[in-house]
Point group: C2
Chain length 364, copies 2
Amino acid sequence: MDAHDLAEDEEEAKHYVQAVSTFMQYYAHSMKTIKEKVKWYVALSERQRSLIPKYEEHLRSVSSCIAKNFHVLRSIIEGVSDMFENMVIDVPVKERLPQVPDFQIDKLPSVLRQLVRDWAAEGQSERDGSYKPVIMEAERLFPGPERSKIRVLVPGAGLGRLAWEFARRGFDCQGNEYSLLMLFCSNFVLNRCDTANAFVIHPWIHQWSNNMTYSDQVASVTFPDVNPASLNSGGRLSMTAGDFLEVYARQSNCWDLVTTVFFIDTANNIIDYFETIYRLLKPGGYWINMGPLLYHFADMPGEPSIELAYEEIVDVMQRVGFRLLYQKADIPTGYTQNVSSMLRYTYRCVYFVCAKPNDDEEES
Amino acid sequence: MDAHDLAEDEEEAKHYVQAVSTFMQYYAHSMKTIKEKVKWYVALSERQRSLIPKYEEHLRSVSSCIAKNFHVLRSIIEGVSDMFENMVIDVPVKERLPQVPDFQIDKLPSVLRQLVRDWAAEGQSERDGSYKPVIMEAERLFPGPERSKIRVLVPGAGLGRLAWEFARRGFDCQGNEYSLLMLFCSNFVLNRCDTANAFVIHPWIHQWSNNMTYSDQVASVTFPDVNPASLNSGGRLSMTAGDFLEVYARQSNCWDLVTTVFFIDTANNIIDYFETIYRLLKPGGYWINMGPLLYHFADMPGEPSIELAYEEIVDVMQRVGFRLLYQKADIPTGYTQNVSSMLRYTYRCVYFVCAKPNDDEEES
């Protein structure tokens, strides 16, 4: 191990401890918000308080949901220290965990919503919209009985449902994910859940706006909707941690299929993704994409960001070398959407299937 | 004029000068963003630049749209110094305008989109969704020929289209708006435009994500879709500037109709709005509301915010004294929506009509 590796390991360990801290600070951080709201409520005149008799009770009810969410989030980080084969980390005792900034803890509500998207019955329609077309196409492209020899890569695997679905269908699938918050959760669901509907969360309690009823805000959701341990397919599932471009920097010509769902717009430079996917695929391999173009770095000062319109993306992938087999635009899809909210976000996704030409095709 | 008034006047003059500065800094501020994007483009390898031949041209094209938007924004602030009857303001010469913070200038793209919503053909479907039911109900409630005696108040009047529509139908209508950026624009459209389709803006150029084509981003929109000077109805239109609760603090029992569209959720305390609207209405007067519950202060630390679910709002208005005549939920409506974007926001609005009881009703 050289000095560079050592520095890298230290950096990784630091991220890891910060992610554990983020989970641990969820309760105190969320209750700060509640205390603020109680303060404004108490500052109302007695007359105004009497006009909203359900509100105080609602604040109590949200507090109790925060405690229940925290219970689940704590279960998720118990046992993560042996999550990575290549990393042994000393997590400081609870009292000595570092303070993480608020914006970091504010990512946890989105992790809760991701749990719904990937692992709850309430996420079924989003999964049908985003994952199903991709899975059906993969099954069509690889109909044979030898599916366990087909290597599928899922960059931006999030909480792992799409990768798991491939493994369940007999593929040899690897998910890659950058966010440790996500990786902790996918590790929990994939490796430490062996019963369906064992856990309950309240994913919408952090949304104070656009509620028709108070019960909409405190609604509970159980997960996982399936027993993740029930693969029995001959398929395999693995997960890698880290930046897609770095983790796969030294591989080429080794994947039969790469599927990107709500992923390609997470890059500083989307062209790097296209070139990497091309290099990673075996000649004759396929790339299936579904998602919008919400460039993650578009509004971050100081961060490189190349924002291409879809029309140019279609050209780029072909210039990189792909053959475009199929494309469809304007596919309405939600993303961690609270369907009872008075505000709805709908992505009009693009879906496309590309092939990396076989060596003989390239020459022709 | 006492010391208090003087301090208030000074404060108002300061806001006013800041708003003028905001408009004046649009060009330089927006071009900073372009320069940043050019920097990342130039930093690409020659190979990658050759893969995206349209992108550099697109950056040039957006720059030219920024210049055109600035031309219109400058026209808007020319002549605003005599906008308020009760205020004479010395606007410093251009070189000595104060620097305003970036987040302030970042409000201008939303002002451009509001111009589309209120005064362009492209905003017709949003106006049909939000304003039309309110206007039709008002016409039904006040069918008589004496409409010029009917006093209508529109809090949160934005760029003035709803208030103008009331005046066009013969009502005596007053709009109230807090934002000086909005007031500058409504003043421009209502008092200094006398030709339809005289101006061109590029309202979507600040959206770098979710574009199907580059031409979607640079699309032009002309305004106003009608000649705002063409009232000819016997109706009257006036606008007041300032916070709704402050401007109308000393009035009671003097309005026949109050209409709130995308407004009630702008309060620190929504109950204050309900009580104020009740007090302002004549006995027998009506309140019509259309909008979501996107509480503006919900996520602002240190700002009071009372976030009620709609179920409680229905109770509150009746406890305040209103009779609820009609309500409808789940009305899908856009708000300054770019319909060509791959990301759509839809509000599922609530619409309701209330009456302030006549004195004899109250006693019964």
